[in-house]
């Protein structure tokens, strides 16, 4: 007869958590061991009770009580509305404030503002278009560069291991600090070559 199983395995057996081989082995043992059969019988009733504990009753209006406590402001769309309202209020306040401070007619101010906006747009738009194109090229190059850098770092990490990489980084930092210190000494006033 095999050794008696752990008590934990008897519970796992009752729960159906043992793998088929373990369960078969335990079945064979139980057939030959009255003490383990008794232990299992005793725990079987407990297991049935453990797995049939009733759920607690919840009042019918529980969900409504929860929903009453849920803040309206947490709803994402409300955030946009608030921002839009705040932005509009700020614009109106600025225009009114400008009118009150300078004494100029609000319509004149608006006409002047829109004219300036038009002029600025006429000058800015071609410039922005060029910048947009340059930024696209720059981002493409940077993405390639970072990708290669990442691959290189991966190779170095694989070669050096975590400890080696840490050491290399420390040496790199120390070297950079020394270079910066040297540059500062060279550039400082009164330094003789």
């Amino acid at each position: 007869m095999t050794n008696c199983p752990r008590l934990e395995d008897l519970y796992l057996y009752l729960e159906g958590e043992l793998n088929p081989d373990e369960a078969r082995e335990l079945d064979a043992h139980l057939a030959a061991c009255p003490a383990c059969r008794d232990a299992l019988t005793e725990r079987r009733l407990l297991h049935e009770a453990f797995t049939s504990l009733p759920p607690l009753d919840v009042p019918r209006d529980f969900a409504l009580a929860v929903m009453d406590r849920i803040p309206e402001t947490a709803v994402p769309s409300a955030g946009w509305l608030t921002a839009l309202a705040a932005g509009s209020a700020a614009l109106v306040t600025c225009l009114l404030g400008f009118y009150l401070l300078t004494g100029q007619n609000l319509s004149d101010v608006l006409v002047a503002f829109s004219r300036s906006l038009g002029t600025a747009s006429g000058r800015l738009l071609p410039f922005l278009a060029k910048m947009w194109k340059l930024a696209g090229i720059f981002l493409g190059v940077a993405a390639d560069l970072f990708s290669e850098l990442g691959r290189g770092l991966g190779l170095v990490t694989g070669f050096l291991g975590a400890g080696g990489l840490g050491l290399a980084l420390c040496l790199g930092v120390i070297l950079t600090l020394l270079l910066l210190y040297g540059a500062k000494r060279l550039l400082s006033l009164g330094e003789r070559p």
Binding site: E8, P55, P76
Partner: protein, 186 residues
């Protein structure tokens, strides 16, 4: 039936009805868990409200790759831990094993008389388990409740509690043996 992830996505778009459906789906499992952990129904209901509120405010951080029920019970478990920490309730060391238990199988003498009415007997055992549950340390009780009241798998409990599966199995087992000994002693 709409699945949890879809309901969460709808709630994130501002659909309050979707969140209400989540509440209705989980109000009973959550309250059953909290009721066993606090030992008071009213306190369990209050906690459940607080936890659903916390869940609503944290929906943005929910990752759909995670099972929603596991995420919800993780928040609930942390909420209880915070509560106990504030109340500074004493807890039993987790290193302490079941009294007199060395893990080996001790032969038990079973009751020779067959049960007259098994249903009645089962109901009586359940009633005594509910009472005995309050007397076992919460770290063991919680894992037992998650396993047998909420019917989570050992792997899911390990996720909720950030514990290895082996530890969860062992603590659930220890909780059961504690209950068995208390039932014997009562």
């Amino acid at each position: 039936m709409t699945d949890d992830r879809t309901l969460v996505a709808q709630a994130l778009k501002g659909d309050r009805k979707a969140f209400e459906m989540i509440v209705r789906r989980y109000e009973q499992p959550l309250t059953s868990y909290l009721g066993r952990m606090t030992g008071e129904r009213e306190a369990a209901l209050d906690f459940a409200q607080d936890i659903f509120l916390k869940v609503y405010c944290s929906l943005g951080s929910y990752r759909p790759s995670y099972k929603f029920s596991t995420w919800l019970f993780k928040i609930a478990s942390n909420h209880l831990i915070d509560h106990w920490r504030k109340k500074k309730l004493s807890t039993l060391s987790l290193d302490q094993s079941v009294d007199g238990e060395d893990g080996s199988l001790t032969p038990q003498v079973s009751d020779p008389s067959p049960p007259v009415d098994r249903k009645f007997e089962l109901a009586e055992v359940r009633r005594r388990i509910e009472r005995a549950l309050e007397s076992i340390p919460e770290a063991f009780r919680e894992l037992f409740v998650l396993r047998h009241v909420n019917e989570f798998s050992y792997e899911e409990i390990a996720d909720i509690k950030d514990l290895p599966v082996g530890t969860v199995k062992n603590r659930v087992f220890q909780a059961k043996e504690m209950l068995r000994k208390r039932l014997e002693g009562s």
